[in-house]
């Protein structure tokens, strides 16, 4: 495997070809905030919170580090005024959907995001896709998936699969940054297979 040298926040970092900037950074002990990233899952690039500045050949661009592959002599800045401002706005937008999520609130504090900046549109789900991807990629059960698109997109359990599998698993519950998944499951259970409730 080819080794690639790059700079992250001033640190010289060695990475293997094909690695993402996020992986290289976490190997080097540089933490980048994420919501939709999970080490067992394929990169998704859904939350955009891991955005960083990447400079190569004299050009600086903003890239999403969880899906951006490392390249030779890349200079990465994980905290800059611009990056922080973008993360702050992203958090404010997410907080309009899930104002009481502890994970979001912690990040909001770090980046000075105001949860009341945007009008509340409480959908709870922030479409990080962790539950959907975990069920598909790790458990291969496909009990939960996305339906619809755009502003109407939401997660939805397949009752026939959920009634058989979910009660023995529930591994996705702790992944959800907002606990909405738990609520969606209980609702599906109550509507489609209430007999299982003890």
């Amino acid at each position: 495997m080819n080794e690639i040298l790059l700079k992250i926040d001033g640190k010289e970092v060695k990475a293997r070809e094909g690695m993402t900037v996020l992986e290289a950074a976490s190997n080097a002990g540089v933490s980048i905030p994420t919501l939709c990233h999970h080490e067992k899952l394929m990169p998704f690039g859904g939350c955009r919170l891991c955005i960083v500045e990447a400079e190569s050949g004299g050009w600086t661009k903003l890239v999403v580090s969880c899906v951006y592959p490392v390249e030779k002599n890349l200079i990465v800045r994980t905290r800059s005024e611009k990056v922080d401002r973008i993360r702050k706005t992203l958090l404010e937008l997410l907080l309009a959907h899930a104002p009481n999520s502890p994970k979001l609130q912690d990040l909001a504090q770090e980046y000075g995001a105001d949860k009341n900046r945007f009008e509340k549109e409480v959908s709870f789900c922030i479409h990080c896709g962790l539950c959907v991807r975990y069920c598909n990629e790790v458990k291969k059960l496909n009990a939960v998936g996305f339906v619809d698109r755009g502003i109407k997109k939401e997660i939805s359990f397949i009752p026939e699969i959920a009634s058989k599998e979910c009660n023995n698993c529930k591994e996705c519950f702790q992944l959800c940054p907002t606990s909405y998944l738990h609520a969606a499951f209980v609702l599906t259970e109550a509507l489609a297979f209430p007999g299982n409730l003890q």
Partner: protein, 150 residues
């Protein structure tokens, strides 16, 4: 719902998972909607998870998870058609069919939908039924056109 018809459609595509959308489109055009049993059958035969099929079936407007009428009426309400009186055509169709945009009548004869442009503004106001374009409509012509469908 008979599995044979669904199976025939799936077999036509050699049971390839990559043909999923083509299979769904054919089921949609044969049944005018995607019944749940059909989706389950497709999922089983093509080895595609139902969550994925559900995502695709709800993503594209061409698919419907509720029964649609035999004839799909699309009325253009784009700018050009609007100024040429699309509103009157729409009112007339709603009057005659008794349904609003997004609805299907009880006999499953018509489904009504408004669209924002059909790409032939010079013919406005335009209405498309089952892919056939009817242009330069007046309320009287609209009535005549609808009479030709049963």
């Amino acid at each position: 719902m008979d599995n044979e018809r669904i199976d025939r459609i799936i077999d036509k595509h050699q049971g390839e998972a990559s043909s999923l959308i083509q299979v769904l489109l054919e089921i949609q055009s044969e049944y005018h909607w995607l019944p749940k049993e059909a989706l389950e059958r497709v999922s089983e035969k093509l080895q595609v998870p139902l969550t994925r099929i559900q995502h695709i079936a709800t993503f594209y407007k061409a698919f419907s998870l509720v029964p649609k009428g035999r004839h799909e009426v699309h009325i253009c309400v784009g700018t050009a058609c609007h100024v040429r009186g699309a509103e009157r055509v729409l009112d007339k169709v709603q009057d005659l069919t008794g349904i609003k945009p997004g609805e299907t009548d009880l006999d499953l004869k018509f489904s009504l939908e408004t669209v924002n442009c059909l790409g032939c503004c010079a013919l406005g106001p335009v209405m498309e039924i089952d892919g056939k374009t009817h242009g330069k409509l007046s309320t009287a012509i609209t009535e005549d056109v609808l009479k030709n469908y049963d």
